[in-house]
C-alpha cells in the first residue's frame, strides 16, 4: 500500500504519520515512531527515486575470504517485477536474505521502503512476504493451521486470520486440502501453500527465492499464473531464478548475476537485443566432431558458440544460416532454429550455461 503512492514525498513521513495515529499513547510504539523518523532523515541524506521500494548501493557480503555479493547496486520500483538471474552460487539467495533482513550486510547501503533492515529488521520484515528456497512449513500442523500460526507472528487477530486463510487457500487452489496434513501435499502444492503463507500479512513486496525449482512443468505453470495475478494486483515481486524461461515469464526487469557481481541489467527483451541475435541455429554433429567442424563454420551468422554437445550459430536469420551450412557441404545430425533466450545472454556474458 505504501509503495503504490508515489507522490513527490518519500514514503517514510507517511509511514510515520500512520504509526503515530495508529498508536498514540503506546510507549513501545513511540520508539518505533522515532526510529522511523530517524530513518526518514537517513533517506534524506541518500536521496532515491521517489517510487523505489528497494534500493541497494554497493551492497556487499563476505563470509571470511569468500565474497558472496560484491558491491552490487540496484533499485526496484513499486509494482515492478524484478529478477535476479544467475547460476547456483551467484549470490542471489544471499542478496535476498539481506533484503529480507535476516542476514546482515558486510558493507554498502540497503534501504527497504526507506528502512534499514539491519537496524529495523522487524519493521522491514513486517512489510514483506517471503517464499524461501527450501520449504519450511510446519508438517505437524494442518494446511490451514500453517497460515493461522504464521499470521500470529504479525500479531494479527484470529478474527482477521480465519477468513483471510480461507481466501488465501482459495487463491492457492488448496481449499479442499485445508484440513490435510502438510506432508500429504505434492511439491507444487507445498510451494503454493508457502506462497499463501507469505501473503497472510497482505505484503506489498514479495520475495521469492527460486520459486519453482524442483517442480514439474505443469506445477510451474500453475505457480506462474498465481504469481502473475499478484503482479496484476500491484504486488512488487522480487525473485531469483536460474531458469531463463521463468525470468522471461515473470520479470519486467532483471539483473544477471554471476560470482556476486552484476553482469548486465535490463528488460528480458533489451538484454536479448543487446547481448544476442534474434535467432539461434543449434547444430549437432556428434560430440566428437562439434569442435573440429566449428572452424568450417566461420563467417556464418554473427558469432559462434561451441558447446560440448552442440554448436550455436547466432544469427539474425537462422534458416538462411542453415542454408549456408548446407552449401558448405556440412551435414549436421540435427539442426534447430529458435529465438534467442536469456540463456544465450548468460552464455555470452559468462561463457557458461546457467544450469549445469
Amino acid at each position: 500500500m505504501l509503495g503504490k503512492r508515489n507522490g513527490s514525498e518519500t514514503l517514510l513521513p507517511e509511514n510515520a504519520w500512520r504509526l503515530f495515529h495508529a498508536f498514540q499513547g503506546s510507549t513501545s510504539v513511540l520508539k518505533v515512531h522515532n526510529e522511523a523518523i530517524r530513518s526518514a532523515s537517513t533517506s534524506a541524506r541518500f536521496p532515491m527515486n521517489s517510487s523505489a521500494v528497494i534500493s541497494a548501493e554497493n551492497l556487499t557480503k563476505t563470509y571470511g575470504d569468500l565474497v558472496a555479493v560484491n558491491a552490487i547496486s540496484f533499485e526496484v520500483t513499486a509494482g515492478e517485477s524484478f529478477g535476479l538471474l544467475g547460476p547456483n552460487g551467484a549470490g542471489k539467495s544471499t542478496t535476498m536474505k539481506m533484503i529480507g533482513g535476516v542476514t546482515q550486510r558486510t558493507s554498502g547501503r540497503l534501504s527497504i521502503l526507506g528502512l534499514d533492515p539491519e537496524s529495523n529488521g522487524p519493521e522491514v520484515r513486517a512489510h514483506l512476504g517471503v517464499v524461501p528456497q527450501q520449504d519450511n512449513l510446519d508438517e505437524e500442523l494442518k494446511v490451514r493451521d500453517n497460515l493461522l500460526v504464521y499470521g500470529r507472528y504479525f500479531g494479527l487477530p484470529m478474527s482477521y486470520l480465519r477468513p483471510k486463510a480461507d481466501e488465501l487457500l482459495a487463491f492457492a487452489q488448496l481449499t479442499d486440502k485445508a484440513t490435510s496434513r502438510v506432508d500429504a501435499l505434492s511439491g507444487g502444492m507445498k510451494r503454493r501453500l508457502t506462497i499463501a503463507r507469505s501473503l497472510i500479512n497482505e505484503p506489498r513486496i514479495l520475495l521469492l527465492d527460486e520459486p519453482t525449482t524442483g517442480l514439474d512443468p505443469q506445477a510451474r505453470h500453475t505457480l506462474w499464473d498465481r504469481l502473475f495475478r499478484l503482479k496484476e494486483q500491484g504486488v512488487t515481486l522480487i525473485l531469483t531464478t536460474h531458469y531463463m524461461d521463468e525470468a522471461e515469464q515473470l520479470c519486467d526487469r532483471l539483473i544477471v548475476v554471476d560470482k556476486g557481481r552484476i553482469m548486465a541489467e535490463g528488460t528480458p527483451a533489451s538484454l536479448i537485443r543487446q547481448y544476442s541475435t534474434r535467432e539461434v541455429l543449434e547444430l549437432r554433429f556428434g560430440s566428437e566432431r562439434n569442435s573440429s567442424i566449428a572452424s568450417h563454420l566461420e563467417g556464418i551468422g554473427e558469432r559462434l558458440e561451441v558447446l560440448p554437445d552442440r554448436v550455436l550459430v547466432y544469427s539474425y536469420d537462422g534458416e538462411e544460416s542453415l542454408e549456408q551450412v548446407s552449401a558448405r557441404g556440412l551435414r549436421p545430425l540435427t539442426s534447430l532454429v529458435r529465438r534467442s533466450t536469456l540463456e544465450d545472454v548468460f552464455l555470452r556474458l559468462t561463457g557458461r550455461s546457467l544450469v549445469d
Binding site: 500500500m1 505504501l2 509511514n15 500512520r18 504509526l19 495508529a22 498508536f23 503506546s26 513501545s28 510504539v29 518505533v32 522511523a36 563470509y63 529480507g100 535476516v102 542476514t103 546482515q104 529495523n120 529488521g121 522487524p122 519493521e123 520484515r125 513486517a126 512489510h127 514483506l128 517471503v130 524461501p132 527450501q134 519450511n136 512449513l137 510446519d138 508438517e139 505437524e140 500442523l141 493451521d145 500460526v149 504464521y150 500470529r152 507472528y153 504479525f154 500479531g155 494479527l156 478474527s159 482477521y160 477468513p163 483471510k164 481466501e167 503463507r197 497472510i200 500479512n201 497482505e202 505484503p203
Partner: protein, 280 residues
Amino acid sequence: MSETGRSIQRAHSPAVSAAKARRWGSLYYAEHWLRVLAKYGWSVFLYSVAQPVAYLLAMGVGLASLVDANGSAAFGGVGYLAFVAPALVVSAAVMTASGEFSYPVMDGFKWRRVYYGPHASPLAPEQIATGHILACGLRILLQSLAYFAIVVMFGAAPGPWGWLTAVVGTVSGLAFGLPLMAYAASLTKDSGQFALVQRFIVVPLFLFSGTFFPLDSLPLAVRWIGWISPVWHGTELGRVFSYGMEESPLLTLAHVVFLIVATVAGWILTRRRFVVRMGA
C-alpha cells in the same frame, strides 16, 4: 458488517505488526509451539499420568513396604514414598526437558527447519528461542502439577507447601534443559550426541542424585555427581517443601541459587546461539 461488500477485514499496517512482534514475539512463537503440542494432547496427557501412577505403585506399594519395615530413620522420619515422591516429580521434569530441548532444536535448525519460517517474519531469533522455552516450560509445569496431584492421591505429600514441588520440578527441568538447548543449537549435525546425553548424563543424574536413597549414603567418589546435578538440588528442595525435610537454610538457599543460575545462564547462552546461527 459482514453482510455485503467488504466482508474481509484488512490486515493492520506493517508498523503495527512490527511493534506487536517486538513486544509479544516470544509469546507468538510459544503459541505456535503449543498448537503443535495440542495435536499430541492425548499422548502428552497419558504420559503425564501413566508414568507417575506406574512409578508410585512400584515404589509405594512394592519397594516402600520393604523399606518402611526397617524403620524410617534413614529417610528423616518419613515414609519411603514421601521421601521418593519429590525426586520422582523432579526427575520426570528433567527427563521431559531433555527431550524437549534437544531433538526439536535440531529439527528447527536442520531437519524440518521450522525456525526459519518465523525467522522471515518480524520475530527475532532470540524471541524464537524464548518462545520455544516458554511453551516447553509450560508443558513441564502442567506435567509436574499432574504428577504432584497423583502424589497427593497416594498420600505422599504431607506438608502444606508440597505443591511447590511442581514449580521446583519445572525450574529443575529448565536448569538442565536450557544448557542442553544451547548445546543443541550449536550442533550442525546429530551423530548420536543426544542419545549419549540421555544414556551418560540423564540416566546417571537420575540414579546418583539422592533420588532413591540419601546422597550421603554414596561414597564420595560418586557423591559429587549429586552436587552438580539439577536433579539433586531440585529433589532436596522438593523434600523441604513437601514434608519439611531438615536442612540447613544455607544449603536450601544454595539449591535455589544453583537452579536459577543454571536456568538463566542456559537461557542467555541459548539466545546467543540462536542469534549467531540465524543472523550471520
